[in-house]
């Protein structure tokens, strides 16, 4: 029971990891290989701000607009030039970015794992029943993930920006004929994804320790969640994250070495059995 609950809550965190990836792929078919490294960058940004004397929650809050700016600039200056039918340029460029970020962080912060001291907030918990208790931080993360998925779904469905996202995703040329500036819309989507990644990074460094080489692992988790959930639906991504969190938690419970391995195997299992994912978007 406790394992299941913890698995679901861990899934909330993975949901935050995955939503940004889902968003960028959904809008511009861009696979960001540096996704995990940008999340780690968010962690280190928060860490740096805290060591400059900011309160942890304030540091996390300051990281978000920084992430927005970085995402917008990254898309306009670098990534827009790599889009196209051929996936190779964007893959190589983001893979190059991944190596650059990892080594830059290694140079600046060394390979030591870092964490933020929150005066015990990260271990604070409350008891549900006599032998079942949950942490406050995982609940907060879970609620944030729900809000993020719901918020994205709402933006896509009901706002002008969301309509623009869907339009450039369906057919870029026609959308541009209708007066949309695809490059700008792509930049807005990436900026939004980066805010989510910044948030995920800030929460990750509060929750546990973070080191510069963690990025690729987070990318793989996010990717597995997106594929298992089914592409194109944010609720699906969140469901995929829950499944990944649950599987890993059960695996860890059986043997500490099996958690991540089990998660990967579950991903491959879903891929073979249900390649369209659990909740593929059905367009009406």
């Amino acid at each position: 029971m406790e394992t299941l609950l913890q698995g679901l809550l861990l899934g909330g965190l993975y949901g935050l990891f995955a939503l940004g990836l889902s968003l960028m792929f959904g809008v511009m078919r861009l696979t960001n290989t540096a996704h995990g490294d940008f999340i780690i960058l968010g962690s280190f940004s928060t860490f740096t701000l805290v060591s400059l004397g900011l309160a942890p929650w304030l540091a996390a809050l300051v990281t978000l607009p920084l992430a927005w700016l970085l995402g917008y600039a990254m898309q306009r200056l670098v990534l827009n030039g790599t889009l196209g039918k051929d996936p190779l340029p964007s893959l190589v460029v983001t893979f190059g970015l991944s190596i650059v970020i990892q080594n830059l962080l290694l140079e600046l912060f060394s390979a030591d794992p870092r964490s933020i001291d929150t005066d015990g907030f990260n271990t604070l918990g409350f008891a549900l029943t006599d032998d079942l208790s949950v942490g406050v931080l995982p609940i907060v993360i879970f609620v944030l993930a729900l809000l993020a998925a719901g918020g994205l779904q709402w933006i896509f469905k009901f706002t002008a920006l969301g309509r623009a996202f869907r339009a450039v995703s369906d057919d870029r040329e026609i959308a541009e004929l209708m007066g949309l500036n695809a490059r700008k819309i792509y930049a807005q989507a990436t900026a939004m994804a980066f805010v989510l990644m910044g948030l995920a990074g800030a929460l990750q460094v509060v929750r546990t320790t973070v080191s510069p080489a963690d990025g690729p692992m987070l990318l793989l988790f996010a990717f597995e969640a997106v594929i298992m959930g089914g592409m194109g639906s944010f609720w699906g991504t969140l469901a995929g994250s829950m499944l990944l969190g649950l599987t890993q938690q059960v695996g860890f419970r059986l043997d500490p070495g099996w958690g991540i391995w089990g998660g990967h195997l579950m991903f491959l299992f879903v891929l073979v059995m249900r390649p369209q994912g659990l909740f593929p978007k059905t367009r009406g």
């Binding site: 996936p87 190596i99 080594n103 990717f223």
Partner: protein, 333 residues
């Protein structure tokens, strides 16, 4: 009305390609004599760069011609190494023979693996193959017979003295390089190669001409896996020590991508030039550690955005250079 088909001939070679073949043969013969006059560190260095080159060559075949961009080829690199080591250590097979067997097993294993990987396309295929490589790494790390997470040593070569071992490894690496270049070149000039080029240029049009696209892709995937396995088996014969983290490191794919992008994707000369550049950069700058890697990453980004066709692609467009012509040109007589 009767239209007469004009006389034509198909040109398949360039002016440079015949002399290049002769020069290349002489170079290879000269290189083969290295064990008699060279130092042992040179041979070791050559074996290492040969492995990088073969691996990059196979990545190029897959991405540049087959249109499948993978970040997970290290799965087959490591498998080749581990199969070679197991055959040598546990079954007493000569490790130099086991190198070839390792490549074959990697090629065979790629068929079931492709059933998972081919469910994904484009960028997701790339990351999916990475996940598969991670699964293989974590699985091997749980096998205690090959040392688990900390790895093990190739003991099968113990009886052979150092000089013989190094020379044979060197010749083997040289032979593998020549064989892989030759095979890829001949393959691309064959009818099957023409089909592959057609798929690269337009998959739907190729299919409408009767090309079995999915079978062709599987064939390329299997050949590339066998090539990666060959590189891996060779590398660990030269290194004598294997561990899951070294064998299945994503850096293998990173360096392959770097070499191919620098040299020029989708051309045989590409990985060749890329491997030379990579070797030179590695020789002079690898002491800078993290800054060196940052430089490599930035170089790959800049090349991809501004020089899409790499160094050799630039030369080819500018001066029409082509050492390994695979194109067919129609000339009206």
């Amino acid at each position: 009305m009767n239209t007469k088909i004009p006389a034509y001939s198909v040109i398949r070679s360039t002016r440079a390609s015949a002399p290049v073949l002769i020069i290349a043969t002489l170079l290879v013969l000269f290189a083969a004599s290295l064990p008699w006059w060279g130092e042992s560190s040179w041979m070791h260095e050559f074996v290492e760069i040969a492995c990088y080159f073969i691996f990059a060559m196979m990545w190029n075949l897959m991405a540049g011609y087959g249109g499948m961009v993978s970040i997970g080829q290290q799965a087959f690199f490591g498998l080749g190494g581990y199969v070679m080591l197991s055959l040598g250590n546990f079954w007493g097979i000569n490790p130099f023979v086991a190198v070839v067997l390792g490549a074959l097993v990697a090629g065979l294993l790629s068929v079931p693996i492709s059933m998972m990987a081919f469910r994904l396309q484009g960028g997701y295929f790339a990351i999916g193959t990475w996940v598969i490589a991670e699964v293989v790494r974590l699985s091997i790390a749980n096998v205690s017979a090959v040392g688990g997470g900390s790895g093990t040593t190739l003991t099968a070569l113990r009886g052979i003295d150092k000089a013989t071992r190094e020379s044979v490894t060197f010749w083997m690496a040289l032979a593998c390089v020549v064989a892989s270049v030759g095979l890829v070149y001949l393959f691309l000039r064959s009818k099957q190669g023409l089909a592959l080029l057609a798929i690269r240029d337009n998959e739907i049009a190729a299919r409408s001409q009767g090309i079995d696209v999915s079978r062709m892709k599987l064939a390329v995937y299997a050949v590339a896996a066998a090539g990666a396995g060959l590189a891996g088996a060779l590398y660990f014969v030269g290194n004598l020590r294997i561990s899951p983290d070294a064998a299945f490191s994503v850096n293998w794919s990173a360096f392959a991508i770097f070499m191919v992008v620098i040299g020029g994707i989708g051309r045989i000369e590409g990985p060749l030039v890329g491997a030379l550049v990579f070797w030179a950069l590695n020789k002079f700058f690898s002491d800078y550690g993290t800054w060196y890697l940052i430089g490599l990453g930035l170089l790959a980004i800049v090349m991809t955005i501004y020089f899409k066709h790499g160094l050799w692609g630039y030369a080819q467009q500018r001066w029409g250079w082509s050492l390994f012509p695979t194109s067919r040109k129609l000339r009206l007589d």
